[in-house]
Amino acid sequence: MNTASGFIKALESGTKHLFIKRFTLRYPEQKLKFVGDGYQFDPKKGVGIAGLRGRHILFHDKCTGCQLCSIACEGIAEAIAMVKVDEQWKQNKKSIMPQIDYGKCVFCGLCVDACPFYALYMTNDYELSSYTKQHLIYTPSQLAIKPIDNGDVELKIGSRGATHG
């Protein structure tokens, strides 16, 4: 290849880029929209439902305290501990429910696969940072809260390149 034409081509392709829209997602102002409400699992069919694997959500009215989720996590991150709760549920005689330490969790979702009672799912919540390690431990009541999902930006491809929003 001719050296001069090579340089010209390279410059041209760089200059063209000036007219392409910026790809950046302006994060705290803009938030991505995800598919569905997070990763879920259907134990009857034995397959999951696609979604982001963020923080877990625990349905207190379904959890039986069977500890299968905590056993599943044993070989992975040992993030789940079973703790006593004050609530009384018919299906949960021992009144124990999972408590998840997000300082250890790797968000693999294998605990969701292990839960046979549709009690543990994952959500689109990924903003979990905190100032202390203690605050990363989510108690069963904290896990029951449904996150506010306000992401509305999607990756779009237009005539002037790919953009967010």
């Binding site: 290849m1 050296t3 090579g6 340089f7 081509k9 390279a10 041209e12 392709s13 760089g14 063209k16 880029h17 790809f23 995800f34 598919v35 569905g36 997070g38 990763y39 034995g46 397959v47 999951g48 439902i49 696609a50 979604g51 982001l52 694997r53 599943a72 044993e74 070989g75 992975i76 991150a77 790797v106 968000f107 693999c108 979702g109 294998l110 696969d113 292990a114 994952m122 990756l155 491809i157 790919a162």
Partner: protein, 386 residues
């Protein structure tokens, strides 16, 4: 005698005491790394004679994590999350061959739709890895545009992976028996439009980087690894194919669905750094074709996962499976003694086999040629150390 003469005499005596330079003193020893020469913690020691490298000693092992030993304490499913840590952005491929080996051991086959989904994630991850590698290659040669572009365009692939698997990296998606979940709604259209756009962008890469005379001058004819040497050294993947050997595991030992997929094995005969830099790029293009073909041929519905017990016992025996990852052949050898944990797991990665070529390529070349040669080997220290 004047005081000046005395001083001259003294100086002469002193100069006699200065030790003369020996041959060894002409050499300068440089330690490249271990703090991040780019891809991860890795060190190589080089000795320089002037501007020429005369001695190279590679010293990997700074990021050894004991993955193989860890496998022996976990069951076949809980091994997945930690096994993908060595190459977080090519995690679909590193768990692919593990899943294949476990399935071979247990004796099951994955449902057809599951095989397609696996192949799609594997190809997406190959693109993901290669664009990341290309970004660092660019910045190492001082081409900062080539750092920005792939880093941004990688987002196209990451977005798809996030939709499909739930994570941008470390997907924990491949699992013995199939994949964790089916495709979300309208994934196919999204995937096609983003892959088509990525292909358009790849053309620009050629103009600004690969056909750029500066890049060509720095890489063409640098670090020649002849065909015979490449075979003798046992390098794999893009390094082997850049030396003129059309060897791709997807072609020679097709796993899952790859025997039904029509694609070309990319190889070049120039054997230099340029070829080794260009082959992964051609692979990305080929991956785009493969993804389109996979989406086209994929059955409309069906199972994606074979249901297995979470603490399944592997029958006593061995299995060996390999896949073509972003860095070459990636193989697992699993030995089972009949319990729910593997007795021994051996991981052989492309990175480790490719880095063995580094001393052979560097000796005799100039120091300035070190970055293009080191990078062209497609080396990922964490994967090599496991």
């Amino acid at each position: 005698m004047s005081s000046l003469d005395e001083k001259i005499d003294e100086a002469k005596k002193l100069s006699m005491q200065i030790v003369k330079e020996s041959d060894e003193d002409k050499l300068m020893t440089l330690s490249v790394g271990p703090q991040h020469p780019g891809t991860g913690h890795f060190r190589f020691i080089i000795k320089l004679d002037g501007d020429y490298i005369v001695y190279v000693n590679i010293d990997p092992g700074y990021v050894h994590r004991g993955e193989e030993k860890m496998c022996e304490y976990r069951n076949y499913f809980t091994n997945i999350p930690h096994l993908e840590r060595p190459v977080i952005h090519d995690s679909a491929n590193i768990t692919y061959s593990y899943s294949l080996a476990v399935e071979d051991l247990i004796g099951i086959t994955v449902p057809r739709r599951g095989q397609f989904l696996r192949a799609i994630t594997s190809e997406l991850d190959r693109i993901n890895y290669t664009l990341y590698w290309l970004a660092i290659y660019g910045i190492f040669l001082g081409h900062s545009t080539m750092f920005m572009w792939p880093a941004a365009d990688r987002e196209l692939v990451l977005d798809l992976l996030e939709r499909l698997t739930g994570h941008r990296i470390t997907h924990a998606f491949n699992i013995p028996g199939g994949v964790r979940n089916d495709m979300p709604n309208n994934f196919k259209e999204k995937c096609l439009s983003q892959i088509n756009y990525l292909e358009k962008r790849l053309k620009e890469y050629e103009h600004i980087f690969y056909n750029n005379p500066l890049f060509r001058q720095r890489t063409e004819g640098v670090g020649i690894l002849s065909k015979e040497d490449a075979i003798k050294l046992g390098v794999t993947g893009s390094v082997l194919r850049a030396s003129g050997v059309p060897y791709d595991i997807r072609k020679v030992e097709p796993y899952d669905i790859y025997n039904e997929i029509d694609f070309n094995v990319q190889y070049m005969k120039t054997c230099d750094s340029f070829a080794r830099a260009y082959i992964p790029f051609l692979d990305v293009r080929e991956s785009c074709h493969i993804i389109r073909e996979l989406l086209d041929k994929m059955p409309e519905s069906g199972d994606v996962r074979e249901k297995l017990l979470s603490n399944i016992k592997g029958p006593p025996g061995e299995s060996f499976k390999r896949v073509e990852s972003g860095r070459g052949a990636l193989s697992y050898h699993i030995v089972s003694d009949g319990t729910s944990r593997p007795y021994r797991v051996k991981i052989s990665t492309g990175s480790f086999r490719n880095i063995l070529a580094l001393p052979f390529l560097l000796v005799g070349s100039m120091l300035g040629d070190m970055p293009p040669i080191y990078w062209s080997l497609n080396y990922w220290p964490i994967e090599a150390d496991r």
